[in-house]
């Protein structure tokens, strides 16, 4: 045993030995074989018992709109596109502050024991319950008030998502002068794609070819020196002046542009704006991932010995960065448990997946036995994306520019920049120049964030119209509801401290995952099935996320109380973030209280009627 540990230490953590980055990918492949091929299949066969002869909601209630059976491979693509956004990319890169080993282990074991469990059980729960979504299910299985709390919970969660994504795009990516023109041109080209498809009715292959080539040309145009210097001058020069608090003019301006883009995406018809832009963006993201993976396989550098496998328990880079010659002060992310487990959300487990799985995928499942391939399969593929993201930091940057560059970028709040630069270094090995690759990587991330952000604003405006439309009729107006959602988002973007906002977003996301797992446990128990495979992850995630949210609330209130001369915007943002964290915890406690009561009732057989 000692020998094994010493070998591990020598191979992975030792200062002199080096290990190929391909081991990471091999480790991920083994996890997929074990997790999907053995654990997930055996749970499915012994507990869920999918019956290919049983009619699914898609075939039973087929209306050609929401309930429509789809081929399993088509649905796999749909599910993966719906669940993969900025989460599996940014979270793992930020979490590398504890060292790459904890990040890799949580991504792999999180997916193996929790991630796929949530996605698959959400799909099957909805399939077996007539295609009902989580609101209706929590109303029926947990308690009537659970539905209202869940929707409020989702609203706050989406608000945090807007703040976290808005800050990355507006403060980090768009402030790079080589990026904005590319993003704006890709959006314009997306609109052209919509016009070509829906109005001119051109062939989709021709449309794709023309628009994707134009999009690449647009990104390249953004890297031209004249364009860069113009964009820089718009942002107030190389050192953009402070506009208010600690927000520079460039950050303020580009965040505002992002919010305007989200507004247009929320109020314009979906075929006119969101859908065609998403379509062009998909090809950029797909080609980027393909080129990055291919480049990594050709290059397959060793993990640099200078890149720490483990830094310290508090995720503070100060001493590691100082050893690498970076003279910056870093804020501690927080204790490894629970903060790491919410910093990486989507790459390991994410509550958003349960919402997408129950409302979209479950209603299109043609055959019950397709559920595992679609739900668990897409989750394991996302795990692969998260591992690739870790590699952009560890080898993309670490093997070329060293650990110091990673620390420098993270210290400047540029987690998106880490991915862009790391991907560029990987793509360089398939012949793509690094200067273009960096802009491409930043546009890639911006588009990934935007495609989710304007759909989130759409959801928020419809939710506010439903809840407040009767008492405040203004909310029925699409523009009003969207503007209110954007003002709330802007408030957090301009005031919140990024690392805390990201942790809060991850905490809310993971808390929703624990709710989904709890709902699945109640459902399994009601049917007299083994529920521990969902219940144990639910308890683990609930305790972890509540601890993470409380710790974050404590950290932000402490910062306000103990830091002299704190900028007003940071003080206001910290207080708001702390209040949101406490509200989320209270909502979750009520939901869990009701969930436990439902479980107790089921155990005592009081809900025998429900079983029948």
């Amino acid at each position: 045993m000692c020998g094994v540990l010493l070998t591990f230490e020598d191979r992975f953590i030792g200062k002199e030995a080096s290990v190929s980055s391909l081991y990471f990918l091999a480790f991920a492949v083994i996890a997929i074989i074990l997790g999907y091929g053995w654990y997930a299949r055996s749970i499915s066969r012994s507990v869920i018992l999918p019956d290919p002869k049983r009619a699914t909601p898609a075939t039973m209630y087929m209306d050609g709109v929401d309930f429509t059976p789809a081929n399993r491979h088509v649905l796999f693509g749909y599910q993966f596109k719906s669940i993969a956004a900025l989460g599996p990319i940014i979270g793992p890169i930020v979490a590398v502050q504890w060292g790459w080993l904890p990040a890799v282990l949580w991504v792999i074991f999180g997916t193996l024991f929790l991630g796929w469990v949530q996605d698959y059980s959400s799909i099957m729960l909805s399939v077996r319950e007539d295609g009902q979504t989580f609101g209706a299910l929590s109303f029926r299985l947990i308690s009537p008030r659970a539905r209202t709390i869940l929707v409020m919970f989702i609203y706050f969660y989406l608000l945090l998502l807007m703040a976290a994504f808005g800050k990355i795009v507006g403060f980090d990516l768009m402030t790079n002068p080589a990026v904005p023109l590319g993003v704006l041109l890709v959006i314009a080209i997306g609109l052209l794609a919509g016009q070509m498809t829906y109005k001119w009715k051109l062939d989709i292959l021709l449309t794709t070819l023309i628009t994707v080539v134009l999009a690449f040309a647009g990104i390249w145009a953004g890297t031209l020196p004249a364009v860069k210097s113009f964009m820089e001058s718009l942002g107030g020069g190389a050192q953009s002046p402070l506009f208010f608090g600690n927000v520079t003019w460039a950050q303020f301006m580009w965040s505002l542009v992002v919010l305007v883009i989200c507004y247009l995406g929320a109020v314009l018809p979906i075929w006119r704006w969101a859908q065609p832009i998403n379509y062009v963006a998909f090809w950029i993201v797909f080609l980027g991932i393909a080129a990055g993976t291919l480049g990594l396989l050709i290059w397959h550098p060793s993990i640099p010995a200078s890149f720490p496998a483990f830094t310290n328990w508090s995720g503070n880079l100060t001493s590691a960065a100082a050893a690498a010659g970076v003279d910056k002060s870093f804020t501690s992310l927080g204790p490894l448990w629970p903060i790491l487990f919410v910093t990486i959300a989507c790459g390991a487990i994410s509550g958003w997946h349960s919402l997408v799985s129950s409302s979209g995928t479950a209603r299109q499942l043609e055959n019950e036995s397709d559920g595992l391939f679609v739900g668990a399969g897409a989750m394991f593929l996302e795990m692969f994306l998260a591992i690739l993201s870790i590699l952009t930091a560890v080898v993309g940057i670490g093997a070329v520019q060293g650990f110091g560059k990673y620390a420098d970028l993270i210290g400047s709040g540029k987690a998106g920049g880490v991915f862009a630069l790391g991907l560029a270094e990987m793509m360089h090995h398939v012949g793509i120049p690094v200067s273009f690759g960096v802009s491409f990587g930043a546009v890639f991330l911006t588009l990934m964030a935007l495609t989710i952000m304007y759909l989130v604003v759409r959801f928020m405006r419809v939710a506010s119209a439903e809840f407040l439309g009767d008492s405040i009729p203004f909310f029925r107006n699409a523009s009003f509801g969207s503007i209110v959602a954007l003002i709330l988002s802007a408030f957090l973007i301009y005031t919140g401290f990024w690392a805390r906002i990201w942790i809060l977003f991850g905490g809310a996301n993971q808390l929703m995952a624990s709710m989904a797992l709890l709902l699945a446990s109640v459902w399994l128990m009601a049917r007299g099935k083994n529920y521990l495979w969902a219940f144990i992850p639910a308890i683990f995630m609930f305790i972890t996320t509540v601890a993470a949210l409380l710790w974050t609330a404590f950290a932000v209130f402490r910062q306000v109380a103990t830091t002299p001369n704190l900028a007003v915007n940071i003080m206001v943002g910290n207080i708001a973030a702390g209040i949101i964290a406490i509200l989320l915890v209270l909502a979750a406690l009520i939901l869990v209280w009701d969930g436990m009561k439902a479980l107790r009732k089921l155990k005592t057989g009081a809900l025998a009627e429900a079983k029948a």
Partner: protein, 102 residues
Amino acid sequence: MKNPFAAQGESSLGRQASRLIKVFRDVLYGATVYEMVRDLRKQRAQREHLFILVVFGDLIGVPILPPYYTLRLLPYALEAFPGWKRTLLRERDMTDLCDMEA
């Protein structure tokens, strides 16, 4: 003389390759155009539901609009009627909106 086993092997390999290409194409379709197709289906269903509303009086025997026109339209509306009934009567929930992007 052709080796039957070799021929069988080639055709099997060819079949597997074409199957893999089809799977890849389906996955790409699911991640790209499928969303557009779903949205178009939704738009078509909305138009059809308006159409059914026009002829609804005749469906229940109450001539709301001049029956000369609506009765002639009725056969075209009947095909979409079961889907319309299900969509109209289905209980909706706020969390249904999470699928709104499609």
